[in-house]
Symmetry: C3
């Protein structure tokens, strides 16, 4: 599929600076730009590549002041990153080929209700009393337990395991080998040092527009539900324990773990390798920096927190700076003495 | 299934305070209590919910002094948490429907020995020279290698991969997509900077009553065995490296990693996101707090350790407190000067 | 398979000290040595076991000075660990039985090109426009998307999911339930607090001689490729984000995560539970110690770094030592005042 630079500029409501008749057939990062491809410049630290890129066209900010001549055609827009993202989305919409139909190698138990235009891949299994909405894709080797309800336009990638009683909304994407609804980690200690498993009788509820990464695990509730609310985005290898409630539009990066019964507010941003203790409440719009360990509830919305135990990030950075100055401090004390 | 409050009180050897003839048909957390459900109050910080819950009955401590009137029927017991756990277990025993039989879509190699009342799900594969004990359930898409021996009453959830030569005892539960017996991470550096894989010729031995979480990985030993002893409980996304030995009744929370050849004592409690270096020995009954990094053997049993590098937790908390006081210290020095 | 101690010594170019005619039929760790087995002593902290081991033979350094009499036959070599590794490799080569053939329960789409002597296990799926090289093994329940190219002599263990467009070289080993090519975590924030997924149109390229651990996840690039270069070794539960480039012969231990677009040099050694932020460059031969958090590019090759934020390890250790001395410091200030 090919477009001219002019056609692309029209889609993006941008202005062309250079030869708008050239053909674009692909995308590249600016440092890897090839003839026939389009790129973008958003982060100023990549600006030097603009003057050497081999990309046919580059989307740049309309406010950019060139420091030297460029060999590429420019498309000037308000926000180059947003514009490029729109372009990628348009491209994906135009090129996506969705398979439909149910593989003869899939096993769907009798009584399962399935919508229109669904796709079910090979060796996928859907157990009894479950339902699958319209235009949902279930890929190879997916295992869906009893009484699971999945909405419309979902994509369940290969190898995903969904335990019984799970409820999934519309437009949900779950990447390969994620596990939804396994037992919460609940074991009651006995007098002789052994443990007795506490039955995990609840379920997992995933609302609309949620995205879940590869090999992520979400445990079912002991009672009630573990909730992943509207628009939540979870990266790979994230752990969500039983009875956790992740608020709408919260994004959580890879390898972060949320302990049992913790309630995370809406629109939080949680970086990678963060740990959050159990039974806490995290206020909306909290930003938790990478590798932080949160041990207490965060009550005031909109804070940035970091460190372990996590505190307000300004305080954390101050402390880190003071730790770096410890040698100096020890020297001063020595001098004073 | 419905029971009266009186019937439940009899099971729990508790005393009813209120209308014992009411019917109970479900469980709820006290803050989410609904008419017809039973709840419990154990953690005092939830006491306020007792006075507003809509649950028909609540299990409370016989020593609880009410601060105001309640609208719910109380069952007074010694330990409400234990009592509630017993109730959940009774309920689970009474409602559990175990499937039996071998799916026509499963593949069991000739010569595999299988016990009575086993269940084998669709597209499960069991390789030659293996054996499965009585009343064990192997769910969909499980892959069991050659010469694997699994005992009685085990539950192997969908997508679990068990490599050759693994030995698994009785009453073992393994959650979805866990991997048992993959190669240990052993690569011998060569003079030219490349690596040569060190053959991993050992196996994994999992004793009785072990529970293993979703997407957890346990590597086979280089020689000999990686051991997961009696009653061990592993949460999700835990990493157990080659030749590790996890002592009986030790519980390990999510995303913790144990490096190669480390030997962990019995009845240890290891919190989430902990890391333990290789070739160490951890004394029995050690408690390792969340996100700690253990770099040295722990010789004295029964300690609580925390921080990185991990030290006795009292010492760790003292240091953390002093770090918080660093700004004050820097000020004092300035004043002295 | 049995060999005499003399035969083994010949293979290892070592010298026998004791009865070379004895038969060896297995391997053991020195502390678990049994009659008929061979062991090795490399780490001096295990030397005491040499004098009590029941192993028939032990490979030791030709420079070892015995502190007391031994009951076992010794094979004296230059480097006992290397020699033992060679022995394990010889044993593995001689005993390995590679299965070949394509299971009648596998599904290979028409038009897939397959080499000679391949093995494809049960319920494995290979999608259209893909190719598999000679002598490659694809185990049970593997799902390979469209347009995936896999080279010669690869081993893809059960449950591995490989998304479309992935390219894999020769001699690559991928352990069970790893996920290759899932979408990068890219979501553009919208004005109303929701996110819009940024299409991930790139792929993953895995070069030759790479080893990938169980449940590890490698995301496809937004544009271009995520690269895992020649000879890279990844342990279990590692996260490689979109557009990362891991340099040749770099080894990364379990549960480490590399954020998007970071470029790691050749021959780096990255320990377990490390986190590396996005858009960084790590110089070749960098050693990153366990649990370190790298927040800035590392420009000078060959450094050892540790801590969070990671700094030169000598500096990190100094700081840690000073933190341990904080109580003393607070006391001194009190005295001075």
């Amino acid at each position: 599929m090919k477009f001219t630079v002019d056609q692309i500029a029209t889609i993006l409501q941008g202005t062309v600076n250079g030869d708008g008749s050239q053909l674009i057939s692909g995308f590249d990062k600016i440092e890897e730009g090839k003839s026939g491809s389009i790129s973008f410049l958003s982060n100023p630290k990549y600006e030097s590549y603009l003057y050497e890129t081999k990309a046919t066209a580059v989307i740049v900010s309309k406010d950019l002041t060139l420091k030297q001549a460029v060999n590429t055609t420019l498309i000037l827009v308000e926000d180059p990153y947003v514009a490029f993202t729109i372009l990628l989305q348009k491209y994906q919409e135009m090129t996506a080929e969705r398979e439909t139909g149910i593989s003869t190698h899939a096993i769907i138990e009798s009584g399962v209700s399935v919508g229109n235009d669904i796709f079910v891949g090979r060796f996928a299994c859907i157990d009894s009393h479950s339902s699958i909405g319209n235009a949902t894709s279930i890929y190879n080797h997916v295992s869906i337990g009893k009484n699971v309800h999945i909405g419309d336009n979902c994509i369940i990638y290969p190898g995903v395991i969904i335990y019984k009683d799970t409820i999934i909304g519309n437009n949900v994407v779950i990447h390969a080998n994620a596990v939804i609804g396994s037992d919460g980690f609940g074991h009651a200690p006995q007098a002789d040092g052994t443990y007795k498993a506490i039955p995990q009788l609840g379920n997992v509820v995933i609302e609309d527009n949620v995205s879940i990464g590869a090999n992520t695990t979400i445990d079912r509730a002991t009672m009630g539900s573990t909730f992943i609310r509207n628009g939540v985005k979870l990266d790979n290898l994230v752990q969500i324990a039983h009875n956790v409630d992740v608020g709408a539009n919260t994004a959580i990066a890879a390898q972060t773990g949320i302990s049992g019964s913790t309630k995370i507010g809406e629109n939080c941003l949680i970086a990678g390798q963060v740990g959050i203790a159990g039974h806490l409440t995290i206020a909306p719009k909290t930003i938790i920096t990478g590798r932080a360990g949160v041990t207490k509830s965060i009550k005031q919305a909109g804070q940035v927190v970091g460190g372990y135990p996590a505190v307000n990030n300004t305080e954390y950075l101050k402390r880190s700076a003071l730790i770096r100055r410890l040698p100096e401090l020890f020297d001063q004390i020595k001098n004073i003495k």
